[in-house]
């Protein structure tokens, strides 16, 4: 039997969602209408089924093993303590702050908050463009997110914006929602850090609209522990001559799934997606990306790397859509995987849908082992087998990690990803 959800599993799934919905506080605040909408959607569609192509390889057992209730009063202020000092020139916002995350901070020049009417108008627009507003992880976020960080970027913003959120402890659910509107020629670098531990669930939805000639550099460092789960969704709408550079690195979640969805509305934009996911123990790390070109001369450069060890499992599905209107698209997608143990598993699948005829689309996928000759070379210089394997893994990770915003350095992403600290 392949991936079909049995009857009893379906019943259990709907019970999980019912409990989840019951524990949510009554809809309230600026997102009240959105919360209603998300909750209705979830009661209609309790959980994605593995019969859906998109979820075929994604076992949600780790998610339904949690019993998440929305952390009622956001986070205790004490939680901030153990984070590294932000690097110079970085403005850090703590997204889970009990009060206003901006309290006591002034936004750097070029950034401003959207007012309630603007939020009303803009929220969900990019999700709709990307055809994902009814997507399950999005509805989960809509059902539960108490607020949204909604920013207008009207110029080149010099400091890097660092957004930190942490789901620490059992029974915590941390829904985070971010909306970014980049005006023509504006530019912003964002580093998002998502930390999770205990039986917690992090749900992240980011929407970004990139106006003409604007630039968004987005780094996401998602570090979990134990049974913690992560569901992330990044929807980006790109106008011509805009640039998106997204870098994402994750490790440690019992289940993580990240879904970048990019639409180049009139082509002619540049999209760069780089990802590194590690899965060991019993972890499942999943990336489902989709890039769609709705006009000519778009560019995509995508690199997805994964390491699977122990009984870990890595899933990558990279959809690229090049319809007839998207002539002279230049897209490349590469999936490179390192399989460390015999019990680990890697599923990688490019999904190219190319209708236009005058295009250059290259894709490739490799799955390899640590190379005996590389290990031996290092050992023959006095490095133990374990240190040698560690160096090779670091080498593999480096290519993606060095693309993270410089603001990531104090978090020591390499050491954290490799479990060295």
């Amino acid at each position: 039997m392949v991936a079909a959800m049995s009857n009893s599993a379906a019943v259990a799934a709907s019970a999980w969602v019912t409990t989840f919905l019951e524990r949510l506080p009554a809809p309230v605040g600026e997102l009240e209408a959105v919360q209603w909408r998300g909750r209705e959607a979830l009661s209609r569609q309790p959980l994605p089924s593995r019969r859906q192509e998109d979820w075929r390889f994604t076992d949600l057992a780790a998610l339904t093993a949690l019993a998440p209730a929305l952390a009622p009063a956001l986070a205790p202020a004490s939680e901030q303590g153990r984070w590294p000092e932000p690097a110079a020139g970085v403005v850090r916002l703590w997204l889970d702050a009990p009060g206003d995350p901006l309290a006591g901070q002034s936004l750097p020049a070029g950034l401003s908050l959207l007012d309630a009417d603007e939020v009303q108008q803009a929220l969900g627009h990019t999700l709709a463009t990307c055809n994902c507003e009814q997507h399950w992880p999005v509805e989960l976020n809509q059902a539960s997110a108490p607020r949204v960080l909604a920013l207008r970027v009207s110029a080149v913003v010099a400091p890097t914006l660092e957004l930190v959120s942490q789901a620490a402890g059992d029974g915590v659910m941390r829904p985070v929602r971010v909306l970014l509107l980049l005006e023509e020629k504006a530019s912003l670098e964002v580093l998002q850090v998502q930390l999770g531990s205990g039986s917690s669930l992090t749900s992240l939805v980011i929407e970004a609209h990139l106006g003409r000639e604007s630039t968004l550099r987005h780094g996401l460092l998602a570090l979990g522990e134990g049974p913690a789960c992560f569901l992330g969704h990044l929807a980006v709408e790109q106008e011509p001559r805009s640039l998106l550079e997204s870098v994402w690195a994750s490790h440690g979640w019992a289940l993580s799934r990240f879904e970048p969805r990019v639409v180049q509305v009139d082509g002619e934009a540049t999209t760069s997606l780089k990802a590194l996911q590690l899965a060991d123990g019993q972890q499942l790390a999943d990336t489902h990306s989709r890039v769609e070109f709705r006009g000519p001369e778009g560019q995509l450069d995508q690199l997805h790397k994964a390491i699977a060890d122990d009984r870990g499992r890595s899933v990558f599905n990279g959809a690229v859509k090049v319809p007839r209107a998207a002539q002279r698209t230049n897209a490349s997608q590469l999936s490179r995987n390192l399989l460390i143990s015999n019990q680990a598993r890697i599923d990688t699948k490019p999904e190219l849908e190319i209708v236009a005829d005058d295009v250059r689309c290259a894709h490739g996928a490799t799955v390899s082992r640590l190379q005996t000759d590389e290990l031996f070379y290092l050992q023959s210089r006095g490095l133990s087998a374990a240190v040698a394997a560690g160096l090779l893994k670091r080498g593999f990770c480096e290519e993606v990690l060095r693309a993270l915003p410089a603001a990531a350095a104090p978090w020591r992403p390499l050491q954290r990803l490799l479990g060295e600290i």
């Binding site: 005996t372 050992q379 210089r381 006095g382 490095l383 133990s384 090779l392 080498g395 290519e399």
Partner: protein, 262 residues
């Protein structure tokens, strides 16, 4: 430099080994004492690289007979990294490229592994940079290579210089250099040979694997061994290398044929 009273560093006795069920080494005997420079010559496929990898502990090669003593202890019982820390060095015929691993970091970690075995203190990043810059001069290598990934995109000659740089940092007691001369132009050959001569001392020993006389014009061996069919067929002084250059390897093949019939 041959001194009868010198310590024996490496003693190989009737060493036999196979790879993928194919016997390659069929009884190698070789003794190396401190201060000596040995050259092993022989046709392609005679087993020279296999010998060097067995000595360094490559997991693909299985020892099926004989023994190897390194300073009196059983070398074959040791993990490859232990052999290296104790001062056995292999300069690879084909140095391996390791993308994403910084050459400088690699050199530092390996140097410190050897230093702590010798009871010397480990070097921090700054102290190590000083040391490496000094040793770079031995091989006249551009410091820019330190910033690159290990051997990645290095030319053949650059890789070989990187090997000698590692040798200069690790300060081995027995250095096995597997065709360090091949693929080098004459200038690079001089630099590499200069490095080897510079590092040779009465306390250490060098085993040069080569099939060209030209390396032996710049490094004078105390002994020359001819390898064929997984054995050392003949041992002589430096004049044996000249004889090989004059007469070629055909007579070696004939001697080997006689041996294999017997």
């Amino acid at each position: 430099m041959i001194r009868p009273e010198a310590d024996t560093l490496l003693e190989i006795v009737d060493l036999q080994a196979r790879v993928e069920d194919k016997p390659i080494l069929k009884g190698v005997n070789l003794t190396i004492k401190a201060g000596e420079i040995h050259a092993v010559m022989g046709r392609n496929g005679s087993g020279k690289s296999t010998l060097s990898k067995v000595l360094a502990g490559h997991p693909s090669y299985v020892v099926t007979g004989g023994r190897v003593l390194y300073r009196g202890a059983n070398l074959l019982d040791l993990e490859p990294e232990q052999r290296a820390r104790l001062g056995l060095f292999l300069g690879f015929q084909y140095p391996v490229e390791i993308p994403g691993v910084s050459n400088l970091e690699f050199l530092r970690v390996s140097t410190n592994a050897r230093r702590s075995e010798k009871g010397e203190e480990e070097l921090d990043t700054f102290a190590f940079e000083d040391l490496v810059r000094e040793r770079l001069q031995v091989v006249q290598m551009d410091p820019a290579f330190l910033e690159r990934s290990v051997n990645e995109g290095f030319s053949g000659g650059e890789k070989k210089r990187n090997e000698i740089l590692q040798m200069a940092l690790l300060d081995p007691l027995v250095a096995i250099l597997d065709e360090t001369d091949s693929g080098l132009d004459i200038d690079a050959l001089r630099i590499v040979a200069g490095g080897v001569n510079h590092l040779a001392s009465p306390d250490n020993a060098t085993l040069l694997i080569t099939h060209y006389q030209r390396l032996l014009d710049v490094i004078t061996p105390d002994y020359v061994h001819v390898m064929a069919g997984g054995r050392i067929l003949r041992t002589g002084g430096k004049e044996l290398a000249l004889e090989l250059e004059d007469r070629g390897y055909d007579w070696v093949d004939q001697e080997l044929a006689v041996l294999e019939v017997a």
